[in-house]
């Protein structure tokens, strides 16, 4: 668990996840098709993509939370020094909730309705730290105060349905942080919340991440949310990263046509008075992906070469890359 400062917190190479149906004749769905990335300690990576792009599956693969029976997973995944791909299930239960924790999208359904939130927080602490019931309850109270739940002592015995959406999500965050994880995974944690609550939860999350020095991988389809929390942004399409860049570089000049399309379809200060441009068409079916670029069918700058083979992720400047034939590395003369 003791890793040198320069070793990444998360190291992912050629991650592939497919879901096999047990029904004969139903095709295998290739949800994640070769994802590579590293995450430094304390860094925040936002994975941006639409529904079905594989972003949640990627996140769950980091904890091996995809349904075991139907999931085929391959590639290298190391999180906080632990080899996730080869760990036994018993080893995984020791990793989950302790060094890696996850916050889910819908706090109403992600919390058990018949257990009080205090119990649900305390059971995590008891599982990993083996402390007694009373001490775990005190920790749960401290955690609820940490995530700024008002009158936390009273809320400890509340059931999920007795709390508002924002408070439920705070309880969920408290649960995730209960054992001071080194990596926090957030699966659209603000999508189910009202806009005003959304920003409060987002700011809280960012503040806690900095305080506790966690790495954060944040999955969202909301570019505004991504720009608020991310150090780096990775755009995901049909199970692959199509672009990866620092957040300011990305917002200034997205390179992949899909990323450009996303930005063009988003409301922001510069888009005032202009019509929003949508990306025509729909993502490809994951049970029969094309041989070439998965975005080619929707791309307005498609070339014959795009259909032949999937373009490799090419470096497109300092610390950024894109998976498109139009993107060429900057000439050294210009860089110098």
């Amino acid at each position: 668990m003791t890793s040198a400062p320069d070793t990444p917190l998360v190291h992912v190479r050629d991650l592939r996840v497919a879901f096999e149906s047990r029904e004969p004749g139903v095709a295998t769905v290739a949800a994640v098709n070769g994802v590579d990335f590293d995450l430094a300690p304390r860094e925040t990576l936002c994975i941006l993509g639409e529904s079905g792009s594989g972003k949640s599956v990627t996140l769950r693969a980091l904890m091996r939370l995809n349904p075991a029976r139907t999931t085929r997973m391959s590639g290298t995944v190391r999180v906080a020094g632990q080899d996730i791909a080869s760990a036994s299930e018993a080893q995984m239960t020791a990793v989950r909730g302790r060094s890696v924790a996850m916050i889910f999208q819908e706090p109403m359904t992600a919390l058990d309705p018949v257990f009080s939130i205090g119990t649900q927080i305390a059971e995590t602490v008891r599982r990993h730290e083996g402390i007694d019931r009373a001490a775990a309850r005190r920790r749960a109270l401290q955690l609820l105060e940490l995530v700024q739940v008002p009158s936390a002592a009273r809320r400890l015995d509340a059931y999920p349905h007795e709390l508002s959406g924002g408070l439920r999500q705070r309880a969920m965050i408290a649960m995730a942080l209960s054992c001071r994880p080194r990596l926090l995974l957030a699966d659209e944690p603000t999508t189910a919340l009202d806009a005003t609550v959304q920003i409060q939860v987002l700011l809280l999350l960012r503040e806690l991440q900095r305080e506790m020095g966690m790495g954060l991988i944040f999955v969202t389809h909301d570019l505004g949310v991504a720009s608020e929390v991310a150090d780096r942004i990775a755009v995901m399409y049909a199970g692959r990263f199509v672009e990866e860049a620092g957040v300011s570089d990305f917002l200034r000049q997205p390179m992949h046509p899909y990323a450009q399309g996303l930005l063009g379809a988003t409301v922001h200060a510069g888009s005032r008075g202009r019509p929003l441009v949508t990306i025509a068409g729909a993502p490809p079916r994951l049970d029969r992906l094309p041989a070439g670029c998965a975005f080619a069918a929707r791309c307005d700058r498609v070339m014959p070469a795009c259909l032949d083979a999937m373009p490799a992720l090419a470096a497109a400047g300092a610390d950024r890359s894109a998976r498109c034939l139009l993107v060429t590395p900057p000439r050294t003369a210009l860089a110098a």
């Binding site: 989950r96 992600a110 919390l111 969920m172």
Partner: protein
């Protein structure tokens, strides 16, 4: 909580009243004159009329009902037309016997049903699941009395392992939970347990699969909880639905064992009802049906209250 409890109990009163009206009327709506059970066919007409007056059978129905209900409220169910003894004296031991049989059947059916249901849910879609689902469907489709007779033929006639009739010597008071007596209970209880077993198995399978498919199960796994602790969450989530089905099944067992008690001559309420129907013994019929129906209402009330305490989402206000 106390006012909630009181209100639930009050809700049960009109139901109990309606039940008493229905069971009073059902007997009078049935074809045939109950007076024929008391007097022989060649009795002179004026004697028949006199007997009719003595039993109050000449009064208008509402009056008969009001008088009957008034007496019932004091524990007086009248006298059996067939035996001349107070109905309550016959009803008491019969209910105790039926309760023994129902509890025996419930113990077998609920335990087996729960085990099969959980096993099926965990093996979802594979052959153990499919065979348990088929078994559950078969078990609710098999006629009770037929199964009872088959069991008697196999275990009593062919192998001579278990008695096929009665509840052991010495009457209801002599009953003990020892093998001497319990051996009489085995076959009827087994026969009766088949339907609740199937229904409980199907319910448990469905509820457990539903709970296992919930998002919060992923959260629990994501917290690093192990199987045992996750099972506790599943049990607590599944308990309200499963226990309510079990409560209803216990109610059906109490009231619905006429055929099985008759096949095995088990001296319970079902056996008694069967006899009362053939003898047109209206006081016994009314008293038995009413008490069984009230037990059913009471069980429902208990199920309701239990669900409220188990599921925090049901408002207690």
């Amino acid at each position: 909580m106390l006012s909630y409890l009181l209100r639930r109990v009050l809700y049960a009163v009109p139901i109990a009243l309606a039940v008493s009206v229905v069971c009073f009327l059902l007997v009078h709506l049935a074809p045939g004159d109950p007076i024929n059970a008391i007097v022989s066919a060649d009795t002179p007409a004026d004697v028949v009329e006199q007997v009719r007056r003595e039993y109050g059978l000449d009064r208008p129905l509402p009056t008969q009902f009001a008088l009957w209900l008034g007496r019932v409220a004091q524990g007086d169910f009248g006298k059996s037309i067939a035996s001349g003894r107070p109905v309550l004296d016959e009803l008491g031991p019969a209910i105790v016997n039926t309760l023994r049989l129902s509890l025996g059947a419930a113990a077998i059916g609920f335990a087996l049903g729960t085990a099969l249901g959980v096993a099926a849910a965990l093996a979802r879609g594979r052959w153990p699941d499919k065979s348990i689902v088929a078994l559950a469907a078969a078990s609710v489709s098999v006629p009770h009395y037929w199964l009872g007779m088959v069991l008697v033929i196999v275990f009593s006639v062919v192998f001579n392992l278990l008695p096929s009739m009665g509840a052991g010597g010495g009457g209801s008071e002599a009953w003990r939970w020892d093998w001497e007596h319990v051996q009489y209970l085995v076959l009827p209880a087994l026969t009766l347990s088949i339907i609740p077993m199937g229904i409980v198995a199907r319910t448990v399978r469905g509820v457990v699969l539903d709970v296992l498919g919930q998002d919060f199960i992923t959260t629990l796994r994501g917290k690093g909880l192990r199987g045992g602790r996750i099972a506790l969450h599943v049990v607590k989530n599944a308990a309200p639905s499963v226990l309510s089905i079990m409560g209803l099944q216990l109610g059906y067992l109490m009231g619905g064992s006429i055929l099985v008690e008759t096949v095995f001559s088990w001296p319970g309420t079902g056996f008694m009802l069967n006899g009362a129907i053939f003898q047109r013994d209206i006081p016994v019929l009314q008293g038995t049906i009413l008490v069984l129906a009230l037990i059913f209402v009471l069980l429902n009330l208990l199920v309701d209250l239990m669900q409220t305490t188990l599921d925090p989402r049901i408002k207690r206000q």
